[in-house]
Assembly symmetry: C2
Homo-oligomer: 155 residues x 2
């Protein structure tokens, strides 16, 4: 029987570390600025994403499970957020009497109006802090990188 | 007196929107995977960043205000996190008897050992899901983009 030493850690190179840390800091800064701006409309970024996703869905509604996938929130966190938004009249939950598979989340007219109110200044904030701050080729690279992240096999 | 219509919203182009949404989804996916991996060590990414930052500071300690800036957390959130970590014996807080400006956070030996234990598999997770999943030029672009985000004037 032979014993094998555990593989040495493959530390990041200096260049990789610099890029990784810039991302960690920059994404935290960006989230904070977007949240701060949306607070003017009583929203945070997660709630805004839920409004956008429902507004683009057929009949402005989605099953909770589909909504969780679309906005990449855990079911428990999404339930918590949607409950809060339902109390404010932005979303209604319902169970279809014919198809009982799961609960649906429906965007209300008030929810749609709030999205319409919030969208222009939110998009302006995304532009100022992100899209307009970088050149087109780098923006394209960001898209490529994060699509690759999502596609990474977890086996 | 003239009245001026509010400026029309400058919506994102399709290409910009694609990149922005890839980032929103990809960064959520990435955070979730890193948190899930660090959970094996009883940590989340925010706590890991605190351990790293203190481990690299002189005497493994920093003022709470400096630590908040370094890991880009609000003071209230950091206080909450550090309190939790202090209860686990990973960090100690102290006030310097000579220089009373603020509270210091000190990394304990137990905190340093936990970081040493957690680091190799965390870095492997960062490699698998991010660094090794993209090519060098795109990684460099990500660094450039998020440095530009941080540098964006908020005036």
């Amino acid at each position: 029987m032979t014993t094998t030493a555990p593989p040495a850690a493959r530390w990041l190179t200096d260049d990789q570390q610099r890029a990784w840390r810039a991302y960690l800091l920059g994404s935290a800064v960006l989230s904070e600025r977007l949240d701060a701006q949306l607070r003017d409309h009583g929203l945070d970024l997660a709630e805004y994403e839920i409004l956008v996703t429902l507004s683009e869905s057929a009949d402005r509604q989605l099953r909770m499970a589909e909504l969780a996938d679309a906005v990449h929130q855990s079911r428990s966190r999404l339930t918590h957020t949607v409950t809060r938004m339902e109390k404010r009249g932005l979303i209604e939950r319902s169970t279809c009497p014919v198809d009982r598979r799961g609960v649906w989340a429906n965007l209300t007219d008030a929810g749609y109006r709030l999205l319409e109110d919030a969208a222009p200044s939110h998009v302006e904030c995304v532009r100022r802090n992100f899209v307009d701050a970088v050149d087109d080729a780098d923006l394209e690279a960001v898209g490529r990188v994060f699509r690759a992240v999502v596609a990474t096999s977890q086996d």
